[in-house]
Amino acid sequence: MAKIQLNGVEYKFREKTKLKDILKKFKISEKKVAIEINGSIIHSHQVKNCEIKNNDKIEIVHFIGGG
């Protein structure tokens, strides 16, 4: 099992789960977000083949209303 932090919340996934499957599970549209794993940006072309590892810290952000 891979224990990860996703936007500050702990989740457990199978080892080598693909990032794109996590996005799918949470119904997140890849086009409207930016993703960072352990402080490094995952570019859109990298999402497809990206696999998560134990202790990964994933941040998924988008635009919201702000000043």
């Binding site: 930016a34 940006i41 919201i64 209303g65 702000g66």
Partner: protein, 260 residues
């Protein structure tokens, strides 16, 4: 009615509207979109935050304001260090390939006053990374000049603390900054009502950024329209050139031919 050929040019791109609006603090995304429309703004500031993973149906800003039709200006509001601000803007660029960003590095939670040392450092790094950086800053002309020197595409001095609605506190400094700057000077933060926006434009500023004054008005849509008109009025007055101020009265009607 705007003045023909009087365009606001930021980083080589021209805009008709000289009002930039924020998209925070509205009651709903629907109200946000209506206020933006009423304001006539072509650029809106947006924040970068975590996606709410568990709420799958929550409407998102992009569903209400189409980034293909209105320019999104990602902002680093809430960042208190250069590191956080850089991280935020690098992520923002990733979402839609935005080069134009607004940098805001805060120094104090109570006043939300900018930390100019961190701001200057961040501006320099971002400019080198290819960002077009519009910079929220104090109204210190020396710091404004330094920001321009390291590559800021717009200088955005505060009128007063963010969200305070106090209005322009230091007209002299704003004027000095405008006079020395080759890039657009945009008054950002502290505008409380329409007349504040007009004053900023009468001082010669290139644009005004407003959020709270619209969002927290009793009727935000009407205030958005009012801000639009205020900015146009101020710009027109600036171009028209105001009369000279005199110490004594000067009659408006001819003094000849008065019935005696």
């Amino acid at each position: 009615m705007s003045i023909p050929r009087d365009k606001l040019i930021i980083a080589g791109k021209s805009y008709d509207s000289r009002l930039i609006v924020g998209t925070g603090k509205y009651k709903s995304l629907k109200e946000t979109a209506e206020a933006v429309k009423a304001s006539g703004a072509e650029i809106v500031t947006v924040a970068v935050r975590r996606v709410n993973i568990l709420d799958k149906k929550k409407p998102v800003l992009m569903d209400y304001l189409n980034p293909k039709k209105i320019k999104y200006l990602p902002n680093t509001a809430g960042c208190f260090s250069s590191e956080d601000a850089l991280r935020t803007l690098r992520l923002a660029r990733e979402i839609g390939n935005w080069k134009l960003v607004k940098l805001e590095v805060l120094g104090d939670k109570k006043t939300l006053y900018p930390n100019m040392i961190e701001t200057l450092k961040s501006t320099s790094i971002l400019a080198k990374e290819g960002f077009d950086v519009m910079v929220y800053c104090s109204d210190d002309p020396i710091m404004a000049k330094k920001l321009e020197d390291v590559g800021a595409v717009s200088i955005m001095p505060l009128a007063a603390p963010i969200g305070s609605g106090i209005g322009i506190q230091n007209k002299t400094n704003i004027k000095l900054i405008k006079k020395q700057s080759k890039v657009p000077v945009i008054v950002d933060a502290g505008v409380g009502t329409a007349s504040d926006a007009t004053i900023a434009m009468e001082l010669g500023c290139d644009a005004v950024l407003v959020n709270t004054a619209i969002a927290e008005a009793k009727k935000p849509i009407l205030m958005a329209k009012s801000m639009k008109n205020a900015v146009i009025a101020g710009r027109q007055a600036f171009i028209a050139g105001r009369m000279k101020i005199k110490d004594y009265a000067n009659p408006s009607s001819p003094t000849k031919g008065i019935i005696s």
